[in-house]
Subunit: 401 residues, 2 copies
């Protein structure tokens, strides 16, 4: 008999996961989302992930009704929770916002039956799975009635579909039955290894992975500032240092963006404030890199004004949080761009971004004619095409990526 699966939250992870599951003929897949406009957008086949192949797959699943979209959560054998869990840094709250997870669980409880399985994929503080499971048990279920596992995703935006299938998965089961059952579930569509452990270890794994990335990006960013102060080319230095057999320094940039790496470390810091010194400082270093770039840019502009006795037209190249993507979530380039857009005449060049309020977008050819100073904030491949690369070198474009 076909298993019915509900994917709750149709965002960056839920949507591709639902699409992937719907390819499997032993599953009937429902996708639910709290947002009506999101559902309408999807039903009109306007999936807007920054991945072409994935959008095609998703639209195909929806149009062929292999993936059934609805607002309410329906009775299912498996519930997979992929809702966002933002982290509030403002007003000194410093707390993970688990309201979407709690909301999803409450709605699942309305249709939950003995023998059902709940899988949580959203990033959460260590201990969350245990709390949720205890809440479920309070609703009249006995131990082993409901299976529960925490299974973090670890995909790279831009390569989601491939990584969903080919990356190893960690299954943090709340008990042995859950470990076994949920591992087998993932093995149906994951080609690589599935590792079972307890829920807290799986929760910690996700946070440790992204904290590791953040710390290493902070090292690259700090090193780039040190190199600048000692008049050493950071890119040459990193290329040479990485010839060491046990060294792999990442590429520095304008800071750290996206929805995971600059956010997830706070989930660790929140629970371990006194013993997360390095992880805390890494966050600060990465944030300060953005401010350092801002200052550098202002310095270059003032320098131009002093030499030329006029205010230059500025061109900003690249706005997303990473190269070859228009994904603007937590983008440090966007932060920098917004700050200076009011003060100077700025032209924005980004083939991946169509519109931002109050931003004047132009193509690179136009910018090359009009602008006097060029700042590459995100170095899309578009800017590295031979003709543009040479033109930008000739214009002494300053590359922060």
């Amino acid at each position: 008999m076909k298993k019915k699966i509900s994917v709750i939250g149709l965002g960056y992870i839920g949507l591709p996961t639902a699409a992937l599951l719907s390819q499997n003929k032993s599953f009937i897949v429902h996708g639910s989302d709290i947002s009506r406009s999101r559902l309408d957008q999807l039903k009109q086949l306007k999936s807007s992930l920054f991945e072409k192949n994935l959008n095609t797959l998703i639209n195909e699943c929806i149009s062929k009704k292999r993936l059934i979209l609805e607002r309410k959560i329906t009775k299912s054998d498996f519930f997979i929770i992929c809702v966002p869990t933002p982290f509030y840094l403002k007003n000194k709250k410093n707390k993970a916002d688990l309201s979407s997870v709690n909301n999803a669980v409450s709605n699942i409880l309305k249709v939950l039956k003995k023998g059902n399985t709940i899988i949580l994929e959203s990033t959460v503080p260590v201990g969350t799975s245990k709390k949720i499971y205890e809440k479920i048990l309070k609703y009249g279920f006995k131990k082993n009635d409901i299976n529960f596992a925490y299974c973090p995703e670890r995909v790279l935006p831009g390569n989601i579909l491939n990584e969903l299938i080919n990356n190893d998965r960690v299954v943090g089961g709340i008990n042995d039955k859950s470990k076994f059952l949920v591992s087998n579930f993932y093995k149906k569509f994951v080609k690589s290894n599935v590792y079972a452990c307890d829920a807290a270890t799986a929760e910690m794994s996700k946070l440790a992975e992204n904290s590791y990335r953040d710390v290493n990006l902070a090292f690259a960013n700090e090193l780039s500032i040190i190199c600048d102060s000692q008049k050493i080319s950071a890119s040459e230095l990193i290329m040479l240092a990485n010839k060491h057999p046990r060294v792999n320094i990442l590429k520095p940039g304008c800071g750290v963006g996206g929805h995971c790496i600059p956010v997830d470390p706070y989930f660790l810091i929140e629970k371990n404030p006194k013993i997360s010194n390095l992880i805390s400082v890494s966050r600060k270093v990465n944030n300060s890199k953005t401010k350092w770039v801002e200052k550098k840019i202002i310095h270059y502009i003032k320098d131009f004004e002093l030499k030329n006795h006029k205010t230059p037209i500025i061109a900003y190249l690249g706005l997303g949080y990473k190269a070859n993507s228009g994904d603007l979530r937590e983008s440090p380039a966007l932060k920098i761009a917004k700050k200076l857009n009011n003060k100077y005449k700025v032209l924005f060049v980004d083939p991946y971004v169509e519109h931002i309020k109050k931003f004047k977008f132009v193509d690179l050819d136009y910018a090359l004619k009009k602008a006097k100073i060029f700042f590459i904030l995100v170095n899309h491949n578009h800017f590295k095409k031979k003709f543009y690369l040479n033109a930008l070198i000739e214009k002494n474009a300053i590359n922060f990526d």
Copy 2:
């Protein structure tokens, strides 16, 4: 015609480098060291590196007079400086001690001739090569009379000979002629790639490489403390997190030891105190890990005393700064061992260390019979042999490595 080469400083790097060069028939190799006792020891074929194959090679070179040992520096075509450059943290001096380098340069100047080449391999702050070259020019040499390059080593103790030959090298030439000439020199015995750059970039490369290692060890050490506080197995967690395609968390331990990684970051911090936040905190985290282990050990002992109403005999396993080595330089295990040796009855087990004043060394079989609590500070393969592993598990040995 054969080229005469002087290697100055016959320690961990100078000695294997001299031995390696002496294998090449186009070189006549002299090795000099300021220490009479060091030279006597070597002449008696008592090389004491912690690498068996290398000691054999070195003794062969010396006994066959392919490597000529002497105290004074002799006239040569190439001078390779491999002297120690310690860093003083005590008395708030916080300064690299370049006296051995300066002493070596002064002695080279006594025999230096136009056309000679000086290569500096010791770790130094960025800018040191330029200063030394300027000093040389003051001795009546013109530009291009003397070639000078900074060429950091990047070998792993325990695998030095292999890595001297097979690791890529960075050659930081003070001018183009030096870059070309010294690159060609290294290409005569290095099998992998030789990259030329300017001297400051090469100096920075060495410091960046070891700071990268220190930061990553600090992350592993901090994570292990967080895991402990949340009752998660750090080793399982790291194994699982490392299944992520872009994550490679190192192994935590009692701290960070050896002569390079816990020292070199200070060379960067010294010159860039305000912008080396992450690198500074990493040093602190790694040092505090050693103190954390000390506290944990005392906690275990007190716990034993409370439960058993007597003071236990303690066994410490492993004392070197890394597994399968008796190298005690900057060893955190040794620091921990020294602190508690006075307070408790301690048995020390380390097949690689023969004698330390006031330490009672025993073999593992004896310790297993006598001791009540076992702390693995450095997990040598010896302790992982099936019989010992099982015995240590049975004794609830606490493993910090």
